[in-house]
């Protein structure tokens, strides 16, 4: 059994689908943070069989939980302070996400005007459908 030490302040993102932690790492832009990050892949899980875990030692206001909710709102977010779990944050689908995913519709204005932000809005919360603000094309998610 691999042991990864406790963190003092930050997040433990648990119950990430096995193999998806690196995608989360990218989306959360953890490469831009100057902090300790532990990526645990394929950890044993009673609930999931296998799962990934991310431990991030950072100020607890530094992570964009909207992005996390968009990618997988079934992830458990444990907030750590003084080495203890102080809160389990519920993730709710954000009403809008900006510059996280790109519109792939070749007919969309964002395909030719590079400076435009890529904004998606939550069109159907039940089916978790996001649509491009400009062309309304549905985001077809292969990454999730």
């Amino acid at each position: 059994m691999l042991n990864v030490g406790k963190i003092e302040e930050g997040f433990v993102l648990d119950h990430i689908k096995a193999g998806k932690s690196l995608e989360l790492y990218d989306h959360l832009q953890l490469d831009k943070l100057d902090c300790t990050v532990a990526i645990i892949k394929n950890a044993r899980s009673n609930k999931m069989g296998k799962k990934d875990i991310l431990k991030v030692e950072c100020d607890i206001n530094m992570l964009d939980l909207d992005v996390l909710a968009f990618i997988d709102h079934s992830i458990t977010v444990n907030v750590i302070k003084n080495g203890e779990i102080v809160e389990k944050k519920a993730l709710v689908l954000p009403a809008e996400i900006r510059n996280v995913i790109r519109c792939h519709n070749p007919r969309c204005i964002t395909s030719i005007e590079q400076e435009l932000p890529h904004i998606f809005y939550l069109a159907d919360p039940d089916k978790e459908v996001y649509r491009c603000r400009y062309c309304e094309e549905k985001y077809l998610d292969s990454a999730k």
């Binding site: 204005i109 005007e113 400076e115 062309c135």
Partner: protein
Amino acid sequence: MKHLMSPLDFTTQELDRLFDLANDIETDPNKYAHICEGKILATCFYEPSTRTRLSFESAMIRLGGRVIGFSDAASSSAAKGESVSDTIRVISCYADICAMRHPKEGAPMVAAEKSQIPVINAGDGGHQHPTQTLTDLLTIRSLKGRLGDFTIGLCGDLKFGRTVHSLINALVRYDNIRFLFISPEELRVPDYITDMLRSKGISYSEVIRLEDVMPQLDLLYMTRVQKERFFNEEDYVRLKDFYILDTAKLALAREDMLVLHPLPRVNEISVEVDSDPRAAYFRQAQYGVYVRMALILTLLGLA
């Protein structure tokens, strides 16, 4: 500041006010002939669309205003690589209101976000063409006397037809409308529309032959079936006549049925139908000017 990006940007109450104004313009155009004096409409057309552009220009001129603009991207600063955002900032200095057509979907919305003047989406690729839908609604309301309580047949290319999708989305906000979709298998209305109708409990049927449903219709909305939409020549040849409205098919229709078409018509309505009092498509083009006049007045705050 209000813009028009989609027909659903207006509530049904706002649409009623807009259509009342359009009907008043129709009744007494002289009352409105000078109301936009000193105002300028910019028609920014990044792709050619003579009919829509001239309809907008006619609307503004009939209100006493003036028009500037361009009619294709090659004669605009887009050819030099200027962004829509920059163009609209500049146009905002030159005009009081802008009608924009662009081949890329969402371009008018980008313009609206940066604009200091109201922007009207005059068609953005296969996405929205709201003033066509407003034209269709005004025509139905004016000639039928109501928006609701009717059976409408939509015939032709229901898969790719932007005007059809937009009209359906606008009509579902009214009560007791039954939809009959008349198309070849290959060009059926998309699932997301039939899903939406089912979820709202709205009645619809899909048929292949126009003759089968003609006697049931209060309105027939025709669209063109293009040869290139078919997978093979054989199917096209077999089916194309199903979707051509001629006097023989029209003879099956009610006396008070109306035939609508967004135009341009190619061959899907025989010219022999034009003289039938039920042929409403040229009157529809006239309503297109009235609704654009009402829209310009509303967005400029002059209504």
